[in-house]
Amino acid sequence: MTATVASVHPETASARSLTIDVPGWRGNIAGQHVDVRLTAEDGYQAVRSYSLASSGPGATLQLAVDRLPDGEVSPYLVDDVLPGDQLEIRGPLGGWFVWEPSLAGSVQLIAGGSGIVPLMAMIRSRAASASTSPFRLLYSVRNPDDVFFRAELETPTPGLEVTWAYTRATPTGWPRPTGRVTGDDLSAHCFPASENPAVFVCGPTGFVEAVANALVLLGHDPARVKTERFGGA
């Protein structure tokens, strides 16, 4: 399907979100992704998958893309693309790492870096619906400047608790020292295993691997922990 870039917005020094209009789009569930296909003037093509930060029936979608230093598609989307430019998308794709407002029960979201994108779609899906499912988000970033969707996440939302974890540098006076998310962080800030929450973990492989292992050690049912990983091992 042909998509036209409607607007671009910087999220961090290395990432930006793109709003795209896709006439004929039939909607998507929170957590799904799309394949983006780019064609150069000489016919050369490249396709990559990106999670959607948006969900629902509308034909306006949002992607948020982090620049990979040796990438060929992400630098174009982060640095070059302008409103009015066109690309092609296929989707929605993926039926596993998804949340729908009809699902009852607590939802624990755990994001590392740009892994926030599909989880943001879930937060927005909940906010746009009548769902009363309690949500918690634990969001790990390197520095305060690396936060995606900061203003939106800092706006208090009933039923959504957000906890920030910084791995390299914190805001001034921040109580938690810098460091990777540990089992203690998960115990302190996440729904306990006894509540049997649906857990969604998304981020770089090392982050997801460490968090998912710690969740299992804390007694979470592995079948309730859904993961999405990106990046090299």
Binding site: T2, R37, L38, T39, A40, E41, D42, G43, Y44, Q45, A46, V47, R48, S49, G71, E72, P75, Y76, D80, V81, L82, D85, Q86, L87, E88, L93, G94, G95, W96, F97, T205, E209, A212, N213, L215, V216, P222, A223, V225, K226, T227, R229, F230, G231, G232, A233
Partner: protein
């Protein structure tokens, strides 16, 4: 006619005839799993093949290693578009494991520790096309990559090479496994670009 994306293409990668359509080359070994990594002690590990009459052929870790072990040099292709060329594995051929299995069924479902499943036609597991692999690049296979042992079916997209393999169940008809129920192709030939439904 494809839509042209203005100004795209300045950072393109070199093409390589070893790559199926739509794939790019990586030197990393990315990890893709739907949930936490199961931890299986080789003392508890076993692999089985179950036929239509319920006869189970079973191997524990020592029994598997007592069979002829092959070196496998192969390219692998993930549906998420990375390919890795010239990877080195060691494992036992499915031809060896199926030698005494009596079946007329033509389909299989792979079952894994942790609950993952994927469907593969029997013909794609035989004739030197598939292995139970337990060694990657001269080292024990990492749990993240499916250790202690995974199915290796490199001529299909890599989600068919089920991590943490536990057994194969013979089936009379093709049935979708885990990713096949969640949007991915029933067969998954990278050269035909059979990614999705």
């Amino acid at each position: 006619m494809a839509v042209i994306s203005r100004g795209f293409g300045s950072r393109r990668r070199e093409s390589d005839d070893s790559l199926p359509p739509g794939q790019y080359l990586t030197k990393d070994f990315p990890v893709l799993s739907a949930g936490p990594t199961p931890r299986i002690d080789t003392a508890d590990w076993e692999f089985s093949i179950t036929n239509e009459t319920g006869v189970v052929s079973r191997w524990n870790w020592e029994q598997l290693h007592a069979l002829p072990i092959e070196d496998i040099d192969t390219d692998i292709h993930c549906v998420t578009r990375w390919s890795k060329l010239g990877t080195n594995w060691r494992g036992v051929s499915l031809d060896t494991l199926f030698k005494d299995v009596d079946t007329v069924y033509e389909h299989t479902m792979a079952h894994c520790y942790g609950g993952y499943t994927t469907n593969i036609p029997l013909a794609d597991l035989l004739d030197g096309k598939a292995w139970i692999a337990f060694d990657f690049d001269g080292e024990d296979l990492d749990p993240e990559h499916g250790g202690p042992a995974r199915l290796l079916v490199p001529h299909l997209y890599f989600w068919k090479s089920a991590k943490w393999i536990k057994g194969l169940q013979m089936l009379p008809q093709d049935q979708p496994g885990f990713w096949e129920q969640n949007g991915y192709n029933m067969y998954g030939d990278p050269w035909q670009e059979q990614r999705y439904w």
